[in-house]
Symmetry: C3
């Protein structure tokens, strides 16, 4: 079940990569490369940092799912664009929550402290999207005012706390619910963090560095 | 022979990095850093993902070649710019083909399946150029309509198929010929993939994510 | 003492990341992520390339310092902006020098030759800043005409040469002094390398690749 969900997450990320790349007229292979990078980039970075074998070299399923989803998204882009506007955002939010929880589990399994696990959850779930934005030369998702990192951090902290008190499957369900829930609410009602939890400064270049 | 070709590939990549960086007025050390990143970035990423020692730490030749070529390109930029317009493109195409085949060989040698090898061939041969474009803040080569990834993917697939039937040196020659040939034809006659193998969508930002 | 300085370097880098991110209105978690990436990105890349455990997974101090400094910079941004204009630049120059020397020591300790150590010193000390610029979608520090890479390269070469003749602590002091000194002079009097050590070419896109 969880394994299946993870593959759905990979597929959703691949689709989001394809849609992002297709803003410019690109050929099919360039588009598929962006889809792949988006889908497996985050997990790859996580495994490099943890110094463990890269997950998609261990089990090729995720690789094939990412590849298939990228080609399918290319072929079926008209269908995808007919879906209700926010559906992809919700799927993305679900994928992000899944990736984060899995990364936390994996990091804890290697004996790292809870704080590291929360960070690796965040890294895993946003790195693919950041790589997608960088290679398609767009402002990265970190620069959007959307609540993107916030629900992952809050849900991740909640998860490692819950693990002290509850059995793992239940904790996982609650934490993923919180991650998905906060983001879904933010998507639905276009919510942001209150202004006082944001920052914007004006600097000329000399001051800046 | 192959070893020599590989060093030529490294040198060509370093020069392309220097030319890319020199679009802004930069000092010599910044330019050489971009040259180095372009030349050895792709192979470095390949080795990190395969979890094997990074190639230029094992054998410093590639490192010195990249460094020397970067300085030489800085010093001799006037000469380089006098070369026939497309010569550098052809050299780059040759370097890309070499890098891809070497990466496929290396990946297969570590026991990974053919599909992974083809992907690592692609990663190795384009990552250096993508890093170059990212650090010089330009649209990455993935965003160009040029046939860049396509010949590598097709040649890579051909190579792993041929390896089943032919001895390695011959397969290598044929595959590299195909990789170089497709790209050379595309450069010479400015060809792209047929429109139906490309994709461009218009999304406003809300739909996009 | 050195350990303490290293943490100061981490904190300074985190602050520079926060200030860079805060040019757009971002929420607190996105800003802290950029602070973290800037502070520990360079050392992470060094350890990945050297194939040794990532430093902040070994000793969480740097991680907590980076996290704390990022939150503190968010909270105290008004105070920071009241500091004398160039103070942050000087602190950054100090952090860079520290990171470079530490990376050289670490690389030499693993038995790599001096040339590799100098490169790793450069990689470690500038990668965090480059990652910061990439994720905040700005021209990277490599594209600035400021003397950024130059003092690190010169100081690094000096350091590995001095190590042949002098005891390590003294060499370290001299090399760091040179790194910091060149950059401080450049900041103070806005110096650049002489024009003939820079390069700028004009190419149209066809010639370029």
């Amino acid at each position: 079940m969880e394994y299946l969900f993870a593959q759905v997450g990979v597929a959703v990320f691949a689709i989001s990569g394809v849609l992002s790349a297709a803003r410019q007229r690109l050929d099919i292979f360039s588009i598929v490369v962006v889809g792949l990078l988006t889908a497996i980039g985050g997990g790859t970075l996580r495994d490099l940092i943890l110094n463990v074998p890269v997950f998609w070299l261990q089990d090729l399923t995720a690789f094939w799912v990412a590849l298939g989803a990228s080609f399918a998204a290319f072929a079926g882009v008209r269908l995808i664009l007919k879906l209700p506007l926010r559906l992809l955002s919700y799927l993305d939010a679900m994928g992000v929550a899944l990736f984060a929880i899995q990364a936390i589990d994996k990091t804890l399994a290697f004996g790292y402290p809870a704080a590291v696990a929360v960070v690796m959850g965040l890294v895993t779930s946003i790195a693919g999207g950041i790589i997608r934005d960088v290679v398609t030369h767009r402002p990265t998702l970190l620069l959007s005012r959307e609540l993107y990192a916030t629900p992952i951090v809050l849900g991740g902290i909640l998860y490692v706390v819950l693990l002290q008190f509850m059995v793992s499957p239940l904790s996982r369900l609650v934490a993923m619910g919180v991650m998905f829930g906060i983001r879904a609410i933010a998507i639905r009602w276009q919510l942001f963090l209150p202004l006082r939890l944001t920052l914007k400064i004006d600097l000329d270049d000399d001051q800046q560095r």
